[in-house]
């Protein structure tokens, strides 16, 4: 059963005593198993103080929108723009970077009701685009390649707890886990 479909776009956040059944995009209290029981319980929960309702948003916040808008300046760079043979940045590569950011940012929001911090869209090597986050104690660099066959390389470290992430991303997959690492 699709919990969200029953209640439109309203998303309910998980409560400590609920569990998520396999194959169901919803959370059910342990003792509830049937659709009838679930709907009854939901009606009951709406009146309870431990119930929170979060409206789903599909619109990005202004900070992220601004970062995306600023990134379009990269399209003005021409071949050899640095005097040392640097390649220009294609709209296709920039679109990939923006899609990666927005898709995973929206997924992160829906899962956590928190927006990620906007990255810097930086000129990268060989026509690629770097997404860079520099926070107080964490930094993350994701390189979106110009070549369609290449995976996206990433590296991040957390000075506070010493955690390090490094590897390759398939941009066709969901990668919001990396934003989870950044924002936790």
């Amino acid at each position: 059963m699709a919990f969200e479909r029953s209640y439109g776009k309203t998303r309910f956040l998980q409560q400590p005593f609920w569990k998520q059944p396999e194959g169901v995009d919803a959370w059910l209290p342990k003792e509830k198993k049937t659709t009838f029981e679930l709907e009854t319980y939901i009606e009951f929960c709406k009146t309870e103080s431990n119930f929170r309702e979060v409206e789903t948003r599909n619109e990005l916040p202004s900070e992220i929108k601004k970062a995306i808008e600023t990134s379009k300046q990269l399209l003005n760079y021409e071949d050899d723009w640095d005097g040392e043979g640097a390649l220009r940045y294609s709209k296709h590569t920039l679109d990939k970077a923006e899609k990666f950011m927005t898709d995973n940012a929206l997924t992160f929001w829906r899962e956590n009701a928190v927006w990620i911090i906007a990255p810097d869209f930086c000129p990268g090597p060989n026509g690629s685009i770097d997404l860079l986050w520099k926070l107080e104690d964490r930094e993350l660099l994701i390189n979106i390649p110009a070549n369609e066959n290449n995976l996206a390389g990433y590296y991040g470290d957390n000075a506070q707890n010493g955690s390090i992430i490094k590897g390759k991303l398939n941009l066709t997959e969901q990668n919001e886990w990396i934003l989870m690492w950044l924002m936790k």
Binding site: W81, E84, G85, D120, C122, P123, P125, D130, K134, K166
Partner: protein, 141 residues
């Protein structure tokens, strides 16, 4: 320059050991100053051929490094110059510093930083290269 003089110079510009306490200077094109929250993009740390080109402070000043682009037909005012402590550079994974005098271009200070420049390395370089010794807006000297 007379070829005999150049040959004579080539005989004396031996590669030297670069001490950890010295600095490397590197030009940064204005196009890399685009980001919002950081001084410049990490992509400046890349290999041109085998290594990343820098100038050793023993044989170059920051202004020398900036002005050297003139011989290639480029405009110095399009570049800033950053400095990096050699010890910090060597502390980054798989990076080595080698003095590689550029005889054809008469640059005795030329020094290569060898090693792959992946995302980790570029990010770590951006941390050690915070000192912009010549800003874009500084007058040409």
């Amino acid at each position: 320059m007379d070829s005999n003089v150049a040959d004579e110079i080539a005989l004396t510009w031996e590669a030297e050991n670069v001490p950890n306490e010295d600095f490397l200077y590197m030009r940064v094109h204005k196009g890399f100053f685009h980001p919002r929250h950081i001084p410049f993009a990490p992509a400046i740390f890349k290999n041109n051929g085998e290594g990343m080109s820098t100038d050793w402070s023993k044989y170059s000043t920051p202004n020398d490094t900036r002005n050297r682009v003139k011989q290639f037909g480029k405009m110095p005012e399009n570049y800033a110059v950053i400095e990096m402590l050699v010890a910090d550079v060597k502390s980054i994974e798989n990076q080595t510093v080698e003095h590689t005098p550029d005889i054809p271009n008469l640059n005795r200070a030329h020094t290569d930083v060898f090693g792959e420049k992946d995302e980790e390395v570029r990010l770590k370089f951006s941390r050690i290269a915070q000192n912009i010794v010549i800003k874009l807006e500084d007058p040409i000297q």
